[in-house]
Amino acid sequence: MISRRRFFGASAGGVIGALAAAACSTAPGGGGGGQAAGAKTLRVWDHFQPREDLHKKLFADFQKSSGTVVQYTVYNPNQQGQALQLAFGSKQLPDVFTTAGVKLPQPRLRKDGWIAPIELSKEDLSAMPADAFLNGFTHFDGKLYSLPMVNYRQYGTLTWYNVELAEKAGLDPDRDLATWDGFRAAAAKIKSAGGDGISGWIAPLQFAQRLGEHVSDLAMAAGGVGATDPRTGAFSYGTDPYVHAIDFLGALKKDGLIFPASSSLDARTARARWSTGVAGLFFDGPWNIGVIKDQFKAFVDKVGVASVPSSEAGRPVVLYAPPKAGDYCAAATSKEPELVAKLLKIFTTEEVMLAETEQMDGMPVDLALVNKANVHPTYKKAAELFGRQIRLRPAPEVRNPGVSEVVAEMKQVEPDLGGIVQGVLSGQLPDARKALSEYDRKLTAERARAIKAVAAKGVKVSESDWVFGNWTPGEDYGHDKYKTS
């Protein structure tokens, strides 16, 4: 017969033992079932949702051929930054990761011990286009630090339209959606022809960052040059193109053309609502069709795409994109750098790049692959538009790596562009130009402060690093131009 005291003692011991056992097994699971004892493990985090199935298959094949277990997690980009922040702090960075959500530039991540060189040779990368790599972005001191998966030639403000609603409204999308006035008139026609509950345009108004990207793209389609003017190095949010772009969105709101619940929607929920046919028009990037195909299959055949609208008829659309850093990075803390390189080598073959393209996520590093790939016609059209409309803009980091230090040092200025757009659309900021000019002024002051702080640490950098006298609007700023700038 067991006594009560002994029973409680045994129970307490059991509970403590169980807690201890549980504490020892808190590592994230996934993919570990049935693995051989002693097998090596690589952890991979990325944000490529439309490519998830393909990546699972690729990693499963890798596991079979190498015996290395790959624990793969796909994050919402909004949450990945926070997860990486915590992982770095607790020295648990995954072996391979994309830096979505981490706004520090990669030179700073390299300096702070986040990322390490990826041991891939030139031959390993030979199937990838040479212009996907650039010192200061993918390479540092001649070593590869991040593997590019997505092309810089893309933007997130393509005009996606519901084919059925457009037909019902009697629209010729390529003609009627080409300009801001046309877009406004088309949205009105869709609303009136669509009937009760149908809106002209749906937008992720709660997602300030995306809203800011839309306004930047629209401003460039109105002759803007981006956040800073390469000719002067000055911030340019307070200029006409930005003000007019916000006025254009305000006019859509004033006309009652915007889907009423837009203010509560982010990009994902706006896309989900749009795919139910409640609105005719939606701004989004090329990945829209990949997500629709994955998650809203019944809607795939009702989707059409057109260029970002131009501010006025006859103005050719030219958008500027800076060179971009690579996507997959290797953790400096990884104990298996050779296996990491072996894993990432998978993505450098033409066969896999083609398969990646067919997932219809961001544009592939080699735009020519889109024509070879089995993709939706809208994706092909998007690639054609990007090839024609996007120009490479100069990046001060290429000429002076110290600029990255300044970018990392700069503190966030609130409200930012997206916040200002939200404020204007909700009626809380009556004067867009005043708010944008104030934003320019604060950014200029913050950049000056950051330059001073970085210079005090011995880095040679100044405002003139943002000035590119030999930049010509409408032209690509190729690698050769840095030599004469």
């Binding site: 770095f88 009423p260 966030q412």
Partner: protein
């Protein structure tokens, strides 16, 4: 001085002059061991998950740190100066206080009225009603927030559908997207969600009013209104202080509901201090944990002030009941 020493000496010896430090019986020692064994998980978990973060946030508030870098730079009071100079911090502070001022009187008063009704032995199915009013309390706040987005959806939400069918509005009201209505919509949902807690407080308080007092008053000719005015309400006064302060303090913790319903928008119109802190710590382009911690410490001091008021209130309530 001598007196003190003698006093101490007196406490150290029993009347027989023996030392009080007698060896403890083995059973008492074992009991103490068990007490500490069972307390250890609480002490450790409370220390790690409550005490340590509080102390760490004080330390972080004096450094500049983005959460990514290894290095943290000591900046003294600079973060505090920056927070106090930020108009958006004061905007969030104003919204927090406005939220509190809007919620507390309505919640305290309406729950009291309902508690009086539900406390009546004549009310049929009163247990069912009590359960029904308490049900929202046990639902997950984040889920409530998300569901409420659909409920108040201006395009297809049931509230707007009803308003349109009744002919009260032509187009749906953008409850959560309009700065004029967003905060008040969350106030309404918050009151509904946490109504049951304050209701339970009042019901518990009502149980303390002795039946004999009611009977005596009734014999003296008091009617229902007289009983309420001259018996119930005066006896509830001490509880009113405590319940009001508890409600006051609980309205400062609205992060999950506000984040899921409005995310602080539109354009900071519903950004309470908790969301302001979260935005700078995790949602900023480059997180500023030092700055966010300084805001958190300032807000913590404000909550602490409310806590002091609560203590004073409880003391006053005890005095009023004659138990102090």
């Amino acid at each position: 001085m001598t007196v003190t020493v003698e006093g101490r000496a007196d406490r150290r010896t029993d009347p027989a002059g023996r030392s009080p430090r007698r060896p403890q019986p083995p059973r008492q020692g074992r009991n103490r061991l068990w007490i500490w064994l069972f307390l250890t998980p609480t002490v450790v978990l409370y220390g790690v998950y409550t005490i340590y973060p509080v102390l760490a946030s004080y330390w972080y508030s004096f450094v500049e740190w983005n959460g990514f870098d290894e290095a943290k730079h000591w900046v003294g009071l600079a973060n505090y100066r920056a927070v106090l100079a930020d108009p958006l911090f004061w905007n969030s502070f104003k919204i927090t206080v406005l939220f509190m001022v809007a919620v507390v009187p309505v919640k305290v008063l309406f729950t009291l009225l309902l508690a009086l009704v539900l406390n009546s032995p004549k009310l049929p199915m009163r247990t069912l009603f009590r359960t029904a009013f308490f049900l929202p309390v046990v639902t997950t706040t984040a889920i409530v927030g998300i569901v409420m987005q659909f409920v108040f959806d201006p395009a297809s939400g049931p509230v707007n559908v009803v308003l349109r069918k009744l002919g009260l509005v032509a187009d749906g009201i953008n409850f959560l997207g309009d700065p004029k209505t967003a905060l008040w919509t969350v106030v309404g949902v918050y009151i509904w969600k946490w109504f049951g807690v304050t209701l339970i407080y009042w019901l518990a308080a009502l149980q303390t009013v002795p039946d004999e007092v009611y009977e005596a008053a009734a014999i003296d000719g008091a009617g229902p209104w007289g009983l309420l005015r001259h018996v119930t309400l005066p006896l509830l006064k001490p509880f009113a202080v405590i319940i009001t302060l508890l409600t006051l303090e609980s309205t400062l913790k609205v992060f999950d509901l506000m984040l899921t319903m409005t995310n602080g928008g539109p354009f900071y119109a519903t950004e309470v201090v908790e969301i302001y802190i979260y935005r700078w710590a995790f949602a900023a382009t480059v997180p500023e944990l030092g700055f966010a911690s300084a805001a958190a410490v300032i807000f913590g001091l404000f909550v602490g002030l409310i806590g002091v008021l609560q203590l004073l209130g409880i003391r006053a309530a005890r005095k009023a009941r004659g138990t102090a």
